[in-house]
Structures are given as structure tokens and as C-alpha cells.
């Protein structure tokens, strides 16, 4: 199994061609002819990271508005045209980006380009559509608040980040979503949705030259758009542990331990990726062995290092068994992190983690949309000019593979000690709020009919 070979490209990145149009639009193309399918995406480098105080949730709200029609396409037309061609479409927004995708049979995929080329500048912001969609987003937000982990995550991120916009959840704070106006939304769109700030990604059964020609035809004549304002906010160094307790009606406690960790493609980041595998990938991992097997204190637990444009968090989450206390599980996790930092890592364990990283690369890249998503995400977030060519943008995926494979025990332990320490962490506990006697209920009027 040799996903990385001497030319420095992995199967995921080999044959990817990057084309940049004069107006700044980036195009990534990768021909894959195993199935008569094309995944077509467009990525905008804008997410909740770019939102001002009091205006959270705008990036995500804008994503919803992008399906509400353009000057040419009426409301519902984008979905309808996708449907009748047997395609699928959707979109997602996160801290650093907003991405839209279509998957089509390969004889009709170019419709995706036509739609994206239209809505990049011509999205209609009909006030009545805006208000109606606001209700949908409020429902989405409330749905999230019914998930205990989502509530805990919101509080931990908001506590860990005082100044940086990673403070706020991508869906936004409820009051901000309620208050945003259609004019503010249109301004935001006009600032960010331009070729200069976008990447088109195509993976699948097409001919590269013809596909690039078609993208050029659709987007090439557009102005580059304004230079986007740099995001200058830097989270100050944390100097001491922070704690937050969330109360919610629940039968089991939950726990999150989060450490400030470096931005994507930072040279310290690779060791932390291997640490995350050692801690929680599979049943042989350390947290599984400790919490599920030895202590039997949780129903599940995992470590996650989610990389972003700016420094973000390396975190561990656990759902406790009934009757177990967050403090006890917290102590066990901290002990495991301490052990990782100070006791030698057996060679076989390190080799296993590296092999898992390599295998995940092949096993996880069967479908076109997955591949397009990975290429688009890293092209969008790992774009710092100071990175070398073979580590910047989608090539970060090769750097990740190469550099994680080269990690030694001492490098991993040095980084665990540097980042996963007490002064750098925020700990959140979600505990039960017993509201049995004071629970507010809305009279239903027909309780007698209840079966």
C-alpha cells in the first residue's frame, strides 16, 4: 500500500489540474472515469469567520438565499432543473467557507456551471422570500439547540475564543438571525461572492480541456470583484484554564475538553493529527481502551482536531453513562493526555496510526463528491502565500500524508506538551437541570383525545 509515491502526489491529488483565470477564479479539475458521474462544486472563502459582532449567521443565511432564485431563474427553479436532470444539489457553510455542490450524470453536468455562473452575481433577494427563509433558519437553529452536544460545543467555543469570530456558531446567535435585514444580506453577498474569492472544483467523467473551456466561457468575462477585507482579529494567548457549565434537561452528562491548536498546515499541526489518531481512532485507541474498556464510564468518546484558516481547537468529547460524573471522566482523559505526553509511544502503535492514515486515504475516496470536497476545502483554507507550492491549497493533502508518516515519538510528544496543557484549555460540562416541577408547557387544548 503506497498512496504517496516519489512524485509527491497521492492518488487523490495526482492528475488534479489547477487553472486560475485572469479574474482570479480558481479551477481544480480531476478526471475520474470509473462511473459516468461528475461532481461540480463552487467554494467561496467566506464563513462565520468573516462576520461582524451582532451579524452572526449571515454566511449561512446567505447560503439558503442562494437557492431562492436569480434574475433569470425563478424561486424553486434551481432545485427543479436539478431534479429533472436526475441530479442532486446542496450546500454547506462553516467557519471559513461556504460550498455548493451538484452531482450529475456526465452527459448533463454543465448545468451546474450555468447555475453557479448565474447565482454568483444575480441572486435575487426578494424581501418576502428572505423573511420566509428566516423562519426556516430559526427552525434549523432551534433543532440544533435540541442536541446536547451542539449546545455544549457552542459554549466551549464561545468560551475559548473571546475575541476571534470562531467565538460564534456558524448558524449564528438567535437574536442576530432574527434581526438581520435583507439589505445587510445583499451587501454581504456583494462583498464576498465574486470570482476572485471562489474556487470551482470538478471531479469525474469529463474531458479536462473542454471542461476548463466551459468554465472559462461561463465565468471568464466577469469582473474579479472587490479585494476582500483581511480578517485581522487574533485571539490573544490563553493564560490559564477556563471552565463552563451548561445546564440542560438530560439523563446523562456530557464533557468537552478543548485546547487552542495551530492553523491548518502549520508545521506543528501534523504531530497533533497523529496524536488524535492515537487517542481515538478505533477500538484499539487509547481513549477507547481507557474509557470504554477499563473505566466503562462513557457510551462514546472521541478526539478531533478540526483545522481552519486561523488557529482553532483540538478537542475531546464524551457522552457519559447514566450516574457517571463529568469530573471523573475528565480526570481520566487528562491522565491519558499526560501519558501520551510523557511515556514513550510503542513503535507498533505509532506504525498502526500511520497505516490507518494511509488506508483512510484510499478507502475514503471512492465517490466523486468526497474527492471534490477534500480538494475544495483545502484549496480554500490552506492558501497562505508563505506556504511552499507543494503544501499550499489542495497540495496540503500530500503534505499531510507525507509529514504525518514522518512523525517520530519525540516530535509528537513535544507538540502534545506544547498544546495539550492545562493553561491552554477550556473544559465544558453539560449537566442535568431538573425542571420537572417547573417545566413550562403549552396547553394543547385536546389532551383528552390523547391515546
Amino acid at each position: 500500500m503506497t498512496p504517496a509515491v516519489s512524485d509527491g502526489f497521492s492518488p487523490l491529488t495526482r492528475n488534479v489540474r489547477r487553472t486560475v483565470l485572469p479574474n482570479g477564479l480558481t479551477i481544480l479539475t480531476k478526471e475520474v472515469h470509473t462511473h459516468p458521474i461528475v461532481a461540480a462544486m463552487i467554494w467561496y472563502r467566506v464563513g462565520s469567520r468573516n462576520e461582524e459582532l451582532g451579524q452572526t449567521g449571515k454566511s449561512h443565511f446567505l447560503e439558503h438565499m442562494m437557492f431562492k432564485g436569480t434574475e433569470r431563474l425563478g424561486k424553486g427553479e434551481i432545485d427543479l432543473q436539478t431534479l429533472v436532470r436526475g441530479g442532486r444539489n446542496n450546500a454547506f457553510t462553516w467557519l471559513d467557507f461556504t460550498a455548493y455542490y451538484f452531482t450529475f450524470a456526465s452527459d448533463r453536468w454543465e448545468l451546474a456551471l450555468e447555475i453557479e455562473a448565474d447565482r454568483i452575481r444575480n441572486t435575487a433577494f426578494a424581501p418576502e422570500e428572505f423573511e420566509s427563509e428566516k423562519q426556516v433558519i430559526i427552525e434549523e437553529l432551534q433543532m440544533g439547540l435540541d442536541s446536547p452536544f451542539e449546545v455544549l460545543e457552542n459554549e466551549v467555543w464561545a468560551t475559548a475564543f473571546r475575541q476571534h469570530p470562531y467565538h460564534a456558531p456558524t448558524v449564528g446567535w438567535l437574536k442576530d438571525v432574527q434581526d438581520v435585514t435583507v439589505g445587510e444580506m445583499k451587501d454581504y453577498y456583494d462583498r464576498w461572492y465574486h470570482p476572485r474569492n471562489a474556487t470551482v472544483v470538478l471531479v469525474g467523467d469529463f474531458a479536462t480541456d473542454a471542461a476548463i473551456a466551459r468554465v472559462t466561457e461561463c465565468f471568464g468575462q466577469m469582473p474579479a470583484g472587490p479585494v476582500t477585507p483581511p480578517m485581522k482579529i487574533v485571539e490573544p494567548l490563553q493564560k490559564g484554564e477556563k471552565r463552563v457549565v451548561v445546564k440542560k434537561s438530560t439523563p446523562v452528562e456530557r464533557l468537552m475538553i478543548a485546547y487552542h491548536a495551530p492553523e491548518v498546515a502549520h508545521s506543528d499541526s501534523y504531530a497533533l493529527h497523529v496524536a488524535s489518531m492515537l487517542l481515538s481512532h478505533g477500538r484499539t485507541s487509547r481513549l477507547y481502551q481507557r474509557l470504554q474498556e477499563k473505566d466503562q464510564s462513557v457510551t462514546f468518546a472521541f478526539a478531533q482536531y478540526s483545522e481552519h484558516i486561523d488557529p482553532s481547537l483540538f478537542y475531546i468529547q464524551a457522552e457519559l453513562k447514566p450516574g457517571r460524573k463529568a469530573a471523573e471522566v475528565e480526570a481520566a482523559i487528562l491522565e491519558e493526555i499526560d501519558r501520551l505526553a510523557h511515556e514513550p509511544i510503542p513503535e507498533a502503535e505509532l506504525e498502526k496510526a500511520k497505516r490507518q492514515i494511509r488506508a483512510t486515504y484510499i478507502l475514503g475516496n471512492e465517490d466523486m463528491l468526497n474527492q471534490a470536497t477534500l480538494l475544495g476545502e483545502y484549496e480554500t483554507i490552506a492558501n497562505r502565500p508563505e506556504l511552499p507550492d507543494d503544501e499550499r491549497g489542495f497540495r496540503y493533502l500530500d503534505a499531510y500524508l507525507k509529514r504525518t508518516q514522518a512523525m517520530t515519538t519525540s516530535e509528537i510528544q513535544a507538540m502534545v506538551r506544547k498544546y495539550l496543557h492545562a493553561d491552554n484549555r477550556t473544559i465544558g460540562h453539560l449537566v442535568n437541570e431538573d425542571r420537572a416541577t417547573t417545566e413550562p408547557t403549552i396547553p394543547t387544548g385536546d389532551e383528552e383525545a390523547a391515546a
Binding site: M1, P11, T34, H35, I37, F67, K75, G76, I78, D79, L80, T82, L83, V84, G86, N89, N90, A105, E131, S132, E133, K134, V136, I137, I138, E139, E140, Q142, M143, L145, D146, P148, P251, V252, H281, G282, T284, Q292, Q296, T299, E319, K321, P322, A348, K352, R355, Q356, A359, I362, L363, E366, D367, E439, T441, I442, T444, E447, E448, A450, A451
Partner: protein, 440 residues
């Protein structure tokens, strides 16, 4: 690594029926049904094994048996303990999962081509020689009991449980949650697991699908060799399950939970997968509430036009299986929208029964279903799942070719007929969970 391993995908040999794009079906001498499909695109192989055992066959007082058995399959065998099994799989970066579902239990795995024979060996061991070690059993049982508590936090799960319970009544096994109940799970013993394992885990109750980077003849040989000593039980027949009928009266249950949203399920008993009207109903689902985006009626009207929900849908075919599934319309909405949402769902059910669909709607649904069919086979695991479905429901492997016509044949009159036959807008089960007061 043994010699066969390197030869699985070597050479250009193709079995008679194993040419590219055509599945091969083989019945092994001990009764295992094996379906193979070559896909050399990536150096990997997926395998799904389905054993004809699940919650469908457990007694009411043993609810949760199949789920716990499925969970315990890889917890130790005569050859390896649970740590050794996990390490063997994870050290090569493969994936192997075991499960116990409603109609079937089994193993699903994916491995790089070179690692496949070793992982197949583990799958074979798990299917034939699990020992359900006592300490592992106690631990898994305790974890299941903990999960039974934590799942009460998910209002959709609570609503789904209550909904199935009302639809299937007390005598049909589909009324139970697959995970069981605290009382029944606590009462399960290792002996219960052994009894079910010995009875149902036999070669003539098993179907295997293998998809990926191999040559069919060599894979048949390898699987045959791996399972050669496993003896069939010639007298085995699957136990019968009671019939269930669609309700003739409305049923309702309200459950109070301290949550932001109200979860609403509305519907009644549905159809089997083998129902000849499955295809017109699939087209009806696409028009009523199951197409992507906001194109079908319920998401378009209740979400896109009225802003009542983020998630809302309806379908009768999604749960069609060996037993009748459920016709379900769902919405998650703020408690203040309750009447509007409920009436909206019911109005659309009523309308599709009473009024013929427009021919443009029909054509769009047909174009979608035929045009998107290709996406069901993009990954090896998807292909394996399809081959098993085709085998279990006797669809025939030429189903791939016949499917577009099955969809294109459906007429406006067919949709009216099936809507009137299989939907009932009056006698509905309604379950609501959330910030609402409950009274039984």
C-alpha cells in the same frame, strides 16, 4: 502474507459470467449464496454478509437480543479475543463492523486488496466461532443499557419509537425499538445469544456480496475455501411472523419533553418491498414528499413557502421491507406552528388521494428517479448493498436494466389508484414529542 493474497487481482482471467458490469451469483456447496461484482477502479474490496436473523425473530421478552448479538459478534472467537480481533483489523487500516438489525444480522467490511484475505478470515471466524465471552457480554449489556438512557435525549428517537408502537400494535415485532427495552435487555443472558447464534447462523441462511478489485473465479475459490467446513442445517426454516393490518381508526400520542422543537409523525402501516405497486408508490413519494431539495409538495409548501420547518418529508417506500413498512409524514417545528404544520401535512396527504397529480409533476419525478439511479452504485459498499437487496427481494440482477421502464410505465391514473389504495387521510396515527403537555 500468503500467496493467494497477491493473486486475487492478478492476470486477466475472467469467469464466464464475471465480465465487467455483470454480477455473478454462485451457490456454495454448503448453501451460502455468494454474489460477486468486479470493480478494479481502486485497490480495495468491500464485503457484506447478511444472516437471516434479526429483531423480527426475537420474542417480546427478549427484545434487543438481535442487536446485542450483533454487537457481540466480534467480541471474541475460539481463535482470537476481542483485542486481537480489533488490532488485526486496525493495524492494517481496514474496517469491519458487525450488526444485528430488524430482518438481518451480519458483518460488513472493507479492506485494501492485499489485506482482504486476512480480514475475510476474521469475518469467517466471527460468523462461525464467536464465544461471547462473559466479561465482554456484561460490558456490552451495560453499554446498551446506558444507551437506552441517553437516547431519551433525542426527541426524534422518542417520537419514532412511540410512532412504531402505535402502528404495529403489540403482537408484531416491528412495534419494538431494535435496541430493546431496559427490562428486556437487562434480562438477556449469554445463553440467549448462543441459542440464537446456533439456530440462525448457518450457511444456508446466509447471503454474501463481494464487490471490488478481484477476479471472480479466484474470489469464489477463496470464499469457498474459507467457509468449506461450515455445515448447513437442512431442516432450517425461518420462523413465521404474524400478519399486521392497517388501522381503521385514528390513534394519537403526545409526549412532553423539555425541548425547543416539536417532533410530529403522522401516518399508518405501509407496504412490503415486494408489493407490485412499489414503483408507482416510489413515484408518488417523489411527488409528495421525498425528492431532493424543495421540489416535492410537502417540503415545497411547508418549508419553502410557509417557513414552518427545516426538516419535513413524507414517504411510504423508504421503510418497505420483508414486512410492511410505514407511511410516514414528518415535520420538526416550533410549538406555535403545531396546528398549521399538522394540518398542512394532512392536507397534502388528502390532496394526493383526492386529486390526480399533474402530468408535469409525474414527468419530473420520473426524470429524477431514472436520471439519478446511477448514483446508487458509486461505491463498492453501495453496490454490495444493492446486490443483497436484489437477492433478498428476488428483484433479479437484470433489475438494473428494467428499472427505468418500471418507473416510466407509471401513469397519472396509477398514482391515483395507489394513493387511494395505500394511503388513508382519516385513520392516521399522530405522535407529537416536545414542549407540549401530555396526558394518557
Amino acid at each position: 502474507m500468503s500467496n493467494e493474497t497477491n493473486h486475487l487481482n492478478a492476470g486477466t482471467q475472467r469467469s464466464a459470467t464475471g465480465k465487467k458490469g455483470v454480477p455473478t451469483r454462485v451457490e456454495l456447496s454448503n448453501g451460502i449464496r455468494l454474489i460477486l461484482f468486479e470493480n478494479p477502479a481502486l485497490p480495495m474490496i468491500s464485503m457484506n454478509v447478511m444472516v437471516g436473523f434479526g429483531g423480527r425473530y426475537e420474542a417480546e421478552e427478549q427484545a434487543g437480543l438481535a442487536a446485542l448479538l450483533g454487537d457481540m459478534l466480534d467480541e471474541g472467537t475460539e481463535r482470537q479475543n476481542s483485542d486481537e480481533i480489533a488490532l488485526a483489523i486496525e493495524s492494517v487500516g481496514a474496517r469491519l463492523g458487525t450488526f444485528g438489525g430488524y430482518t438481518h444480522s451480519g458483518v460488513s467490511m472493507v479492506a485494501l486488496t492485499d489485506d482482504f484475505p486476512a480480514i475475510l478470515g476474521i469475518a469467517s471466524d466471527v460468523l462461525q466461532r464467536s464465544t461471547f465471552p462473559a466479561d465482554r457480554f456484561a460490558q456490552r449489556q451495560a453499554r446498551t443499557l446506558a444507551q437506552l438512557t441517553s437516547r431519551k435525549d433525542d426527541p426524534r428517537t422518542v417520537a419514532g419509537d412511540a410512532y412504531r408502537d402505535l402502528i404495529y400494535g403489540t403482537t408484531h415485532p416491528a412495534h419494538r425499538p431494535g435496541i430493546g427495552y431496559p427490562k428486556t435487555v437487562a434480562a438477556l443472558t449469554r445463553d440467549d445469544l448462543f441459542a440464537a447464534y446456533r439456530k440462525f447462523f448457518i450457511p444456508n441462511n446466509i447471503v454474501i456480496a463481494v464487490v471490488g478489485d478481484f477476479v471472480t473465479a479466484k474470489m469464489v475459490e477463496l470464499v469457498e475455501q474459507t467457509f468449506s467446513t461450515w455445515q448447513p442445517a437442512p431442516d432450517f426454516v425461518l420462523p413465521a411472523v404474524p400478519e399486521v393490518e392497517r388501522q381503521r381508526e385514528p390513534r394519537e400520542k403526545l409526549i412532553s419533553k423539555d425541548k425547543e422543537q416539536l417532533q410530529i409523525y403522522v401516518g399508518h402501516l405501509g407496504i412490503r418491498r415486494t408489493n407490485p405497486d412499489y414503483y408507482p408508490l416510489l413515484v408518488m413519494d417523489t411527488i409528495l414528499g421525498s425528492s431532493p431539495g424543495m421540489t416535492s409538495r410537502i417540503p415545497r409548501i411547508l418549508r419553502d413557502e410557509q417557513g414552518l420547518a427545516y426538516t419535513t418529508y413524507a414517504s411510504i417506500t423508504a421503510t418497505a421491507g420483508m414486512d410492511p413498512g410505514r407511511f410516514t409524514a414528518y415535520i420538526g417545528t416550533s410549538p406555535g406552528n403545531r396546528e398549521k404544520a399538522l394540518n398542512g401535512l394532512k392536507a397534502e396527504i388528502f390532496r394526493i388521494i383526492e386529486e390526480p397529480v399533474e402530468s408535469a409533476e409525474l414527468e419530473m419525478a420520473q426524470a429524477y428517479l431514472t436520471g439519478s439511479f446511477v448514483f446508487n452504485f458509486e461505491t463498492n459498499a453501495q453496490m454490495a448493498a444493492f446486490l443483497l437487496e436484489a437477492e433478498i427481494f428476488n428483484l433479479g440482477f437484470d433489475y438494473l436494466e428494467r428499472y427505468p421502464d418500471l418507473i416510466r410505465q407509471v401513469t397519472v391514473a396509477d398514482i391515483a389508484r395507489v394513493a387511494q389504495t395505500y394511503l388513508d387521510a382519516t385513520n392516521l396515527t399522530t405522535v407529537m414529542v416536545g414542549p407540549i403537555s401530555s396526558k394518557d
